[in-house]
Symmetry: C2
Subunit: 395 residues, 2 copies
């Protein structure tokens, strides 16, 4: 037998990703390859209590079909969570709950992209975003990222040239770049969206995982200061990196017309996000436990990031170039030797007992083969130091 | 501002559905309009205990990102659940967990349908399936249903004429038809799939909700008896109607090549189904509680179905025609008067204080305006009798 699959499957490239996943799970290897938060930092007891409270206070709501838009008590909590982060004008009805922020990306693709439409993303960017948009037929144009994020003047010329359906940015502690868009650039990005009537999609899963100081306000928070920009702004948020990915609770804030279309598409994608998980998340957020959890988590990731940065400097010296991240889960590095190939290094590193992810799949076009991503999130300091020493050996 | 949405949104028709949803929530009205199971029958305590057990025994597994294919202990439980229903050859790796069976349908659409491809569905069928497939550009051809389900000989000629990408059936206690495909027809359907090399999709959310006697084996169970048919068979299952829709746990069984593509698409749709919900479902199934829950639920729905059927006969007599359902949640009825319009009746019924769903949106083509769907699932016997009396008044 042979099945004749949909044409859209020919538009994506997954062999690189499959190769990556093979690196993740090998036993006995120190892994800097994952994109996961550390499960040992999850507030298991707090989530257990929240789940119990949800089933006790609203068993019907937690176990029955729910509105496609999301469980209302959770939408209210997310509205308050956004307000506490400076985005105090997002009413519960201006956001929908999604099955992780991955589904928010999928709904943006489903509602916005016709085959052949142009979309601009950062280079590098989250690889599942690239493939998600390609499945809807996007023609992807890339916008380079430096240590202050993407340059709005370059974006302006790309917009003028390509008239994209939208621009997708991870402005804060970008995955994989680790870069954070400066405040001045944020303002300019919002002005640019209004001037060129171009939709901006802000993906912000990492903003709460800062180390020493909070990052600049999100584009969503800042939009109150740039007249008209809310009409051109979409924001994706998530509990995955700050509470638990297993809940699969994310959210999408968008202009009303887009949000309505996204709800319609979500109805036929999964009907609703698990109300069991949503009611648990709502009870957890209502308990106020998440701020305390973040106070506990931030210094742990900060210490690990510092350990990795110091070890990289000590063990690899001028052989790699990187920007010290101010938050998030990743160090994005580049081999400085001319013609260096991070793929080759990855293979040698595995032999030495350490895994990381080569950078090429994070580029929608023109990959830089010298780049690679290191996650410091799930290993303790001693393991990070041992892993970087192995990396130095491999190099 | 105005956004330029994706072309695929023009392919679906949602005004009828929006109209329907307006009927569902009116306070003070007796509703036969929903498609929900009765939340009062949920095993809240059993689910609470299962959730607790899951977080205690495998907190990492229940709260971390999980494999896109699903949480392995749940895949094993589903494999055993299928085996207990006669499908004893579905290994855990031959199925994936989906975010409700709605996502299984979405993944089938995403992997199989290119714009313009033909898909055959029953008339009537689940309306979210029609819209889901249309969003991927399906050209939908309909196959009429009688009291024994769809006629394989009609299907044979439709296949010959249209060469569909696949055929979608709800063979057991169909939504909305209530009809059940006879054993003889099931065999013939499987033979036809092999002979014509046509993919059959079996959607089976209601099979365990039988009243007096179990229905014939599912196509999946029967496929062991029809050589080669497993290669052409896809099966969608769900815990939504038998345990809780709020968990959003469904599953997809498919030939390996299709399953692999579905996993790839799911990765970019929502990364994974909530592991929190999956681990809870796995613990619940492992406890063996679901059979006991079904023993408790079946007689309740059976009694309500009987009450509705008796009331319809008593109150409406020859004004309506219907087949008494042997399970599921629905009575599918037809006004016998020539030129009768169930839409008109629905409006008059609302005035009388009872809601139901007109049948037209359940037809992908050529709606029969005299049809309508009554759910007996969520009202008790006295309310059902009062509701049908109001319906008679409206008529």
């Amino acid at each position: 037998m042979s099945l004749n699959f949909a044409q859209r499957l020919d538009w994506i490239e997954t062999s690189a990703i499959r190769e990556l996943f093979k690196l993740l799970g090998k036993p006995g290897i120190i892994s800097f390859a994952g994109g996961f938060p550390d499960a040992r930092l999850f507030d298991v007891e707090g989530i257990r209590v929240a789940g119990e409270a949800a089933l006790q206070s609203d068993p019907g709501g937690a176990l029955q079909y729910g509105a496609t838009e999301g469980y209302n008590p959770l939408r209210e909590q997310i509205s308050q969570w956004m307000a506490a982060r400076g985005a105090d004008q997002v009413a519960p009805e201006q956001l929908i709950v999604t099955t992780g922020s991955q589904q928010a990306l999928d709904l943006i693709g489903k509602t916005m992209i016709s085959p052949g439409d142009t979309v601009i993303v950062e280079a590098p960017t989250f690889l599942a975003t690239i493939q998600c948009f390609k499945l809807y037929g996007a023609n992807i144009i890339t916008l380079p990222v430096d240590k202050d994020g993407a340059d709005p003047e370059i974006l302006a010329s790309l917009i003028a040239q390509h008239k994209p359906k939208f621009v997708y940015l991870i402005p804060t502690f970008g995955n994989p770049s680790g870069a954070t868009l400066s405040l001045a650039r944020r303002r300019r990005m919002l002005e640019l969206a209004v001037q060129t009537q171009t939709l901006l999609v802000e993906d912000d899963p990492y903003g709460d995982l800062y180390f020493d100081a909070p990052p600049p306000p999100s584009l969503m928070a800042l939009s109150a200061q740039v007249a008209g920009s809310r009409d051109w702004l979409v924001h994706c948020g998530s509990l995955s990196k700050i509470l638990s990915p297993g809940l699969r609770v994310g959210w999408l804030i968008a202009p009303a017309a887009l949000l309505g279309k996204a709800v319609m598409c979500k109805q036929f994608s999964d009907a609703a996000t698990s109300t069991y998980a949503q009611a648990t998340a709502a009870a957890y957020l209502a308990s106020g436990g998440l701020n305390a959890a973040l106070e506990r988590i931030r210094p742990v990731y900060a210490e690990r990031a510092k350990a990795m940065v110091n070890a990289l400097r000590r063990e690899l010296g001028s052989a790699v170039d990187f920007v010290e991240p101010g938050g998030g889960l990743f160090v994005w590095a580049r081999l400085t030797a001319s013609g260096a190939d991070a793929n080759l290094l990855a293979k040698r590193a595995i032999e030495q007992g350490v895994a990381f992810v080569p950078g090429a799949p994070f580029y929608a076009t023109n990959p830089d083969p010298a780049t690679f991503r290191l996650s410091f999130a799930t290993a303790d300091v001693a393991t990070i130091e041992a892993g970087v020493a192995k990396l130095a050996k491999a190099l």
